[in-house]
Point group: C3
């Protein structure tokens, strides 16, 4: 089944920047890649926060507004839990519970995704609105693309919106 | 590729009524329609708020309960941000940031969707529960349908739940 | 169209444990099954709460952390609304509005799903992290599986992430 032309495809739109949903996105992505699918992850809106080089809070952007949003949203280490967040304490507790049970952490999942050849794409429009440039993002980001390009490349793929 | 029978289909379930998610739904929908897909948007639950004629808060419905829910949920101009909402200030700031970067606004996206021939369908059950009638909704709503009808029409489509 | 080999498939990832989203998941699932699709529901993360035997709050798990999370998350009768939750009052009001309009309640939907032959699968990793064992869950749960197994079984299915 290794012939690229027949390879099953999975495309994941990572819209949410919640810690738990990003974990879910990378778990599905790496699971799919490990079972020989061609996987693309398209990060948009809040999801962009998972790709920022500054993993903590940083006032990225030019305008005051973009700076404020970027600061408030934070980065990979500040992602909130979609429920029971308790001002950011819960993602840390959840991380601890995952570690205790030998489940891969978020940075490990990002690394695994890259190693498995998952294509990581950042949404052009979201970068534009939030004034995040390619140099503000981790080097695992392979491409910047618009939604039309993403949809065209996902023509034969399962599209999963997270 | 313009032969209708072979036209790729995309069906979007607009469940969420969050400002950012509705923007995402319309962006994907118009992007798909612009690249020659047949697109259906099925609005249910909170998503219905984006279709109400009263774009502000209005006590639509007959029972006190339905009126209260409809009032609290608001309409197209009151959609909250899924995160960092700050009592409704953020969607306005985000709208400003979008305008500044020449990104289409939500009303513009609704108009574009209509112009591109995207089929806008309202969920019968959600209308029933929330006591929203067809006359309470914008005229761009072409159809009212149940989930089974929607699924049947989406048999060969990508289904995206937002 | 009743030949199993050609039967259309729908796979739903129930990630969210919100009352309204679980209702949506079961509504789509039963609608799909009723129109002759083969449906699998894969419950992970917060979604697991809908499958717990203890439908109220209970400190399931061994470690203090797992107990705390399970208690705070609650069960089928404590699922919050994704918006306007008001400390759990709204899901009850919404349930009342559904009953008034003869819409199936959540326990009825779970029962219908089972009767329609929908396969209910619990996510192994989420059970592991939250220390929920198979005996903690309702008997309608037919299987425990990892994400790779789920993806393999969903190869020809619509995948819907809720």
């Amino acid at each position: 089944m290794n012939i690229p032309a027949n390879k099953k495809k999975v495309s994941i739109v990572c819209f949410s920047g919640d810690f738990d949903k990003i974990i879910a996105a990378f778990t599905i992505a790496t699971g799919a890649a490990a079972t020989n699918r061609e996987v693309t992850m398209f990060f948009t809106f809040w999801g962009l926060n998972a790709l920022k080089k500054n993993k903590g809070r940083a006032a990225t952007g030019n305008s005051i507004m973009a700076k404020a949003f970027n600061f408030l949203m934070g980065g990979l280490n500040n992602l909130p839990l979609s429920r029971l967040n308790f001002f950011g304490i819960s993602p840390k507790l959840m991380g601890g519970m995952m570690k205790k049970h030998n489940v891969a952490s978020l940075p490990e999942l990002v690394e695994a995704a890259h190693a498995l050849g998952i294509r990581i794409v950042a949404c052009e429009m979201a970068m534009h609105i939030l004034e995040v440039s390619k140099s503000d993002m981790i080097e695992e980001v392979q491409d910047v693309a618009g939604v039309a390009t993403f949809l065209n490349e996902s023509e034969d793929a399962h599209i999963i919106f997270i």
